[in-house]
């Protein structure tokens, strides 16, 4: 049945080359842990992506309950965590995933660094990776405020003070992030929510696409 549907579509729009091009290629022996166990270091990039997928899925479901309003944010998180079946698990996925993703990212970066895989012709992809790193830190920073508890509030206060230290544009940068020159409040929470849930994920998708396209163009770096 499925085969028939597939054939019917393929017959008309020829989709086989599309997915072949994306999915059908050999994993070189030197990156396959089944051949050399030490090749597990090549997994960290994929693991980073895997955790990113978890963050995106769990995050999408969290927004079904979360309210970005200072009166209700904490209560909505408390409610989803204590009253909603499996809410604790979904929040836990997002909460712990946020740390795990950074760890994976660092391990992946270390692999690329110590193998010298960033060298010509792959310099561009290193730069894309650095941008990905900043976007990920931004997601961590903006997400941390959202539960609107004491820890979130004061961590953001300190984070904004750090932004204020940037030479020349620090004060404006802080206001731009916080939505107010001196208050960390209602407008800060809505801004951080928008940045966390729309702006940075959009940037993340674009950069990930660039990252993967470059890998497919250039192939994985050769054995040491």
């Amino acid at each position: 049945m499925l085969q028939k549907i597939y054939d019917w579509i393929d017959d008309r729009v020829d989709i086989t080359p599309i997915w072949r091009d994306i999915a059908d290629h050999e994993v070189p022996e030197h990156v396959n842990p089944a051949h050399h166990f030490s090749a597990f270091v090549y997994c960290f990039g994929g693991l980073t992506f895997f955790v990113v997928v978890i963050q995106i899925l769990s995050g999408m479901f969290l927004t079904m309950y979360y309210v970005p309003d200072i009166e209700n944010a904490w209560r909505s998180v408390y409610y989803l965590q204590t009253e909603v079946a499996h809410g604790q698990i979904v929040r836990g996925m997002h909460h712990w995933g946020a740390s795990v993703v950074i760890v994976m990212l660092l391990l992946h970066t270390l692999r690329v660094f110590f193998q010298g895989a960033y060298k010509k012709p792959r310099e561009l992809n290193w730069m894309v990776g650095v941008l990905l790193f900043f976007v990920m830190l931004g997601l961590g920073f903006t997400g941390y405020l959202l539960p609107w508890d004491n820890k979130a509030y004061f961590a953001t206060q300190v984070g904004l003070e750090i932004a204020e230290q940037v030479p020349f544009i620090g004060v404006q940068l802080k206001t731009l992030l916080a939505g107010d020159a001196s208050i960390v409040g209602a407008q800060t929470l809505t801004r951080f929510f928008a940045i966390h849930v729309f702006f940075l994920p959009a940037a993340l998708f674009g950069l990930l696409a660039a990252h993967f396209i470059l890998i497919r163009r250039q192939g994985i770096s050769g054995p040491l």
Partner: protein, 170 residues
């Protein structure tokens, strides 16, 4: 084609016009969202009134004392009362000083003699930031500037405090 008579080809013409029109449309689309996003940066800082902190001037000693009071705060669409605090004392010239407790390093809260090891100083527990009694940061500790100073005024023997500003500006 001759050097002088640089004709624009049909292809070039279409490229230029389409890029121009497309760029114009994209710019038009983005003006309002961007202006909206940066609005807080362009807002003039509203100047609040000084508030009575319920402290009689006669009760102020030379020992910095923490004073807490409340002000009405307007945060966009959200109005609320928030607490403020200051370290208040009379200096050697009998002038009233009121320092913001917000550390100039990364914004923790400083206390007068907050550490037993550093008497006669303001102390920040977060990274051992220290300030002399006149609010100046102790060189070699994390803060890079003196404690902010509140605008202050005495009306009918009571202390009124306004906004905290960097020392020298208030």
């Amino acid at each position: 084609m001759s050097e002088k008579k640089q004709q624009v080809s049909r292809r070039q013409f279409l490229n230029y016009t389409l890029t121009g029109v497309g760029g114009f449309m994209a710019a038009g689309l983005l003006v309002s969202p961007l202006r909206m996003a940066i609005d807080p940066v362009l807002q003039k800082s509203t100047h609040g009134d000084l508030a009575n902190v319920s402290l009689a001037v006669g009760d102020i000693t030379t020992e910095p004392t923490r004073v807490d009071w409340k002000i009405d705060q307007v945060d966009g669409w959200y109005e609320s009362q928030v607490s403020k605090s200051a370290w208040v004392f009379k200096d050697e010239n009998d002038e009233i000083q009121a320092f913001s407790p917000v550390c100039k390093h990364l914004g923790c809260v400083v206390s007068w003699e907050g550490s037993e090891d550093f008497p006669n100083e303001f102390y920040c527990p977060c990274h051992d930031g220290r300030y002399y009694k006149d609010g100046t940061n102790v060189p070699g500790t994390p803060p890079l500037a003196p404690l902010d100073v509140f605008e202050r005024e005495v009306r009918d023997g009571m202390l009124f405090l306004g906004e905290a500003k960097p020392k020298g500006e208030a």
